[in-house]
């Protein structure tokens, strides 16, 4: 079974990290992910840019584009896509398309990636 592990922390705190602290954390995380990669168990990983860079497209007949991250606690994270886009407009268009295709309520948060490491899983797919 493939699992997604989602990271939550306070942005205020992470932004207060010194460069040295940030580097030390990344090194420690790197040690964990390298081991997983060596075992052929690591899928794609990413570090997101801050929520200040996020834009949210709320689904609906006329999708609503809002500045800021998705912040509704009554809806749950169901999945995510990583898409190569030329611009924010391009990314918003994809989000609208996904919204129209999935119907109902909910939203898509569009947030650029700061770091992206492709998968080491090869052909393995979820059962």
């Amino acid at each position: 079974m493939l699992y997604a592990i989602l990271c939550y922390d306070s942005e205020d705190v992470v932004h207060a990290w010194s460069k040295e602290h940030n580097d030390a954390v990344m090194d420690r995380l790197g040690a964990v992910t390298s081991r997983l990669a060596a075992q052929g168990r690591l899928g794609p990983t990413a570090r997101l840019m801050p929520t200040t860079v996020a834009t949210t497209v709320r689904k609906g007949a006329t999708p609503l584009v809002l500045d800021g991250p998705f912040a509704e606690t009554k809806e749950q994270l169901l999945g995510f896509y990583v898409v190569d886009c030329d611009s924010l407009e391009d990314a918003l268009a994809v989000a609208r398309e996904l919204g129209a295709a999935s119907g109902t309520a909910g939203a898509h948060e569009v947030r650029p990636l700061m770091v992206f490491n492709p998968s080491t899983l090869g052909e393995k797919t979820p059962a």
Partner: protein
């Protein structure tokens, strides 16, 4: 903090500081009391958190503990029988009431609290340097020694500057009522200007060591992001944050190993901070969707064009010239016109640029960059005699050894005096 295992407490306190002090200021309406209350709460955090671990809501914990400690202290001062300040069991457990506390301190409240705290530091009666020093001391929590080093003044002088600034604020009326929309926008504008000046203090200062200046720039970016989290849909807040990130990205390449200035054209672009650029570009994209241009957005758009050019030769000077023309309309100033002339020299040639700055001779007569640019344009037009005069004037006005050295290097390229 000496113990690296306790680093997280220091970081958590730094991160919580603006929100916590802002909330305490609302309770006590007195900057000193709010600061002391936070100080007291921080001391207790250092005692309690190592064993208990961090509270789920660190800001809420600090506000509640700080408030109780300060109330207690004030009561004691007035001679009332008081709670024993050291008996923590006498304080309500900050973790138990977390939900209600979190609700009371919801983002809407925080937003006006933090804006007020920053706005108080920007009191119009305070000189700009004092505003920045005060914000660094109170909001960012830098020590007086750190701020003094950044401003290249003695610790005693900085201490005095900050004490005076606080006294002035104390004597003035601090606006505690919840601001209306227009007032909020006005406050935000004043605060953004201070954050931008703080950044420039680090970015433009030629003295002081590199590390300290970078620290000021990073602090400004932290404050800009804080403002942006509070006002995520303000195009100018998006713009100023983008601007700071895009400029900061060039920091590593602006001086050579000897500390000499390296012009944008000659900078090693591979040393630019790609992550900061990507974030800045993403923010300016968001800002432009609002179609409400403002000075910060235009400046960020200009910085974005430089950032997008992989080599100096690929710079889109025509677009930069148009953006400076827009900036001239939005925020007319001789310095903006001077910058436009730089772009104009690329699109229309040195003669046109020289003509465009003729009218600036008077307002910018005492401005280093005016004479530096004028000298360079005259040199390009093979009027080396006049160029020499302009460069000499620039050297006389140079604000630092590096600036003077930079012009001297250009003087050397001129044909010898006839």
């Amino acid at each position: 903090m000496s113990n690296p295992a306790l680093d997280w407490i220091g970081t958590t306190l730094t991160a919580a500081r603006p929100r916590a002090i802002a909330a305490l200021l609302r309770y006590f309406r007195d900057l000193d009391v709010a600061e002391e209350a936070f100080q007291e709460a921080s001391l207790r955090a250092l005692r309690k958190w190592p064993e208990q671990g961090p509270p789920r809501d660190a800001v809420g914990w600090l506000v509640l503990v700080g408030r109780n400690a300060a109330v207690d202290h004030l009561r004691k001062q007035r001679g009332h029988v008081a709670l024993d300040a050291d008996d923590e069991s006498a304080l309500p457990d900050p973790d138990s009431g977390e939900t209600t506390l979190a609700e009371r301190l919801d983002d809407a409240h925080y937003r006006d609290d933090i804006l007020r705290l920053l706005f108080v530091c920007c009191h119009p009666q305070l000189p700009v340097n004092a505003q920045i020093a005060l914000a660094l001391r109170i909001v960012s929590g830098l020590t007086v020694a750190q701020i003094a080093r950044a401003f290249l003044v003695s610790e005693a002088a900085m201490e005095q500057r900050i004490t005076r600034a606080k006294a002035r604020i104390g004597a003035a009326d601090v606006p505690f009522e919840t601001p209306g929309a227009a007032e909020r926008a006005e406050r935000l504008g004043v605060v953004m200007a201070m954050v931008y000046l703080l950044f420039n203090e680090g970015y433009s200062a030629s003295g002081g060591d590199f590390e300290r200046r970078v620290a000021l720039c990073e602090e400004a970016i932290r404050l800009a992001r804080l403002l942006l989290r509070l006002f995520p849909a303000e195009p100018e807040t998006l713009g100023v944050t983008a601007l700071l990130l895009l400029q900061h990205a060039r920091m590593p390449s602006r001086h050579d190993a000897e500390g000499q200035i390296v012009l944008l054209e000659q900078q090693d672009r591979s040393r630019w901070d790609r992550r900061a650029i990507d974030e800045g570009l993403a923010l300016i994209d968001k800002a432009l969707r609002h179609r409400q241009p403002g000075p910060y957005q235009v400046q960020a758009a200009i910085a974005a064009l430089h950032a997008r050019a992989t080599t100096a030769a690929e710079t889109d000077w025509a677009q930069i010239e148009r953006l400076y023309a827009t900036l001239e309309r939005l925020q007319p100033s001789p310095v903006v016109s001077l910058n436009r002339a730089v772009a104009l020299s690329r699109t229309a040639g040195p003669a046109a640029a020289l003509e465009s700055i003729a009218l600036l001779a008077k307002p910018l007569d005492g401005y280093f960059y005016f004479h530096g640019l004028r000298g360079a344009l005259l040199h390009q037009l093979h009027r080396d005699g006049e160029a020499r005069e302009a460069f000499n004037r620039a050297i006389a006005l140079a604000g630092s050894v590096q600036e003077a050295a930079h012009i001297r290097a250009q003087l050397e390229t001129l044909s010898p005096t006839p």
